[in-house]
Symmetry: C2
């Protein structure tokens, strides 16, 4: 235990190095998108591949380490929007807007976070069919479910309802956001309003067309 101070310093040193490597990796991922290779990242950091593998195990490890930072940041943003002491509808609007602002200002990061591509091969083996969506989406869904459970009185079986709604709303946000980012058919405010209208039951409220078969 005499080497506590020493190992402590080493600890901070390796942590610092790790952060430097992560920053280099981020630069490359931002530049090359999903084509970022370990060679390129190592070169950007001024070193060679094996060091990366010593620090992060494999490519999935590096990507995961890179992802948690932004995931945490985004989740924090959304949490504040979700916890604002305003009307429920304003809170929903603020949350949607926070998400869309995030993906608008840093689309490369967004793309990286949402694109699991391969990774996570080593962990939880055996073909679990259906797995595909990014961990970030799952976390978002669960987080939103918690808030819904806390805030709304859903009666018996409400926990299931909350989770379905959480993942459904997150999916809606993601799908609409992805489409919007690609086509930019309107302003962010407009998009937020339309989506909030949708969540507020406008789909059920608007009238049928008069000239069509009125079902």
């Amino acid at each position: 235990m005499e080497s506590t101070e020493h190992s402590g310093r080493q600890q901070t040193a390796t942590e610092r190095r790790r952060r430097e490597l992560l920053e280099a990796a981020e630069r490359i991922v931002l530049r090359d998108g999903p084509d970022a290779s370990m060679n390129a990242i190592a070169a950007e950091a001024g070193i060679t591949k094996p060091i990366l593998y010593r620090h992060f195990g494999d490519k999935g490890g590096l990507y995961r380490a890179l992802a948690v930072r932004h995931t945490d940041a985004l989740l924090a943003n959304l949490a504040t929007a979700l916890d604002a002491p305003v009307l429920r509808r304003d809170r929903v609007e603020a949350t949607l807007d926070a998400y869309l602002l995030a993906i608008e200002t840093r689309p490369q990061v967004y793309r990286f976070l949402m694109h699991p591509s391969d990774e996570d091969h080593p962990s939880e083996s055996s073909f679990d069919v259906g797995r595909h969506s990014a961990p970030l989406l799952r976390r978002l869904g669960e987080e939103l479910a918690k808030v819904i459970t806390d805030r709304l009185d859903l009666g018996p079986g409400g926990e299931l309802t909350a989770r379905v709604w959480g993942h459904g709303i997150v999916g809606m946000m993601h799908g609409a956001g992805d489409w919007w980012l690609r086509e930019r058919p309107c302003s962010r405010e407009q998009l937020v309003e339309q989506l909030t209208d949708l969540l507020w039951g406008q789909l059920a409220a608007v009238k049928d067309r008069v000239d069509g078969p009125g079902f």
Copy 2:
């Protein structure tokens, strides 16, 4: 033009060959998931790689050719559910159920369709940030938008509203379906009902918790 009959026969012959190759590819993709390699597919078809490349150009071409079949099939299913002459809410339920039934019965196909992984590199070059979601989702969103525009009276600016709602609903379906397929927290019928409730404005209608800060 004299060789019309000849080239016609050749046409059908190569088309048949192409279909055989696609069926072999499908078998392998269903077995190996996203790890399916061109070598494996060629071996399954009883041939070697270059023939695949002659037929489909590159791996993206093969995947695209493979995708359009299932995409068309799924779209046809959804279109019938969407066009059923029943109440609007029943139609929404039927559509959700059709989608979820499809991904439930053939999760590997679903996974393949939703996972662009790499592909489409050759076309529309230059980093178009934000692109990520599968073409299937885009088509679904647009298709749904068309139906909404046709059926609902959304007033001025209704076309934008329809597209936002279309992509938002498809995203909700996708997100919730993905989560449900992974965790199987309830039956399909329950999920459909909860999602329809969400779309029908229950999020706005339910009461706040009495014990919480009642916003």
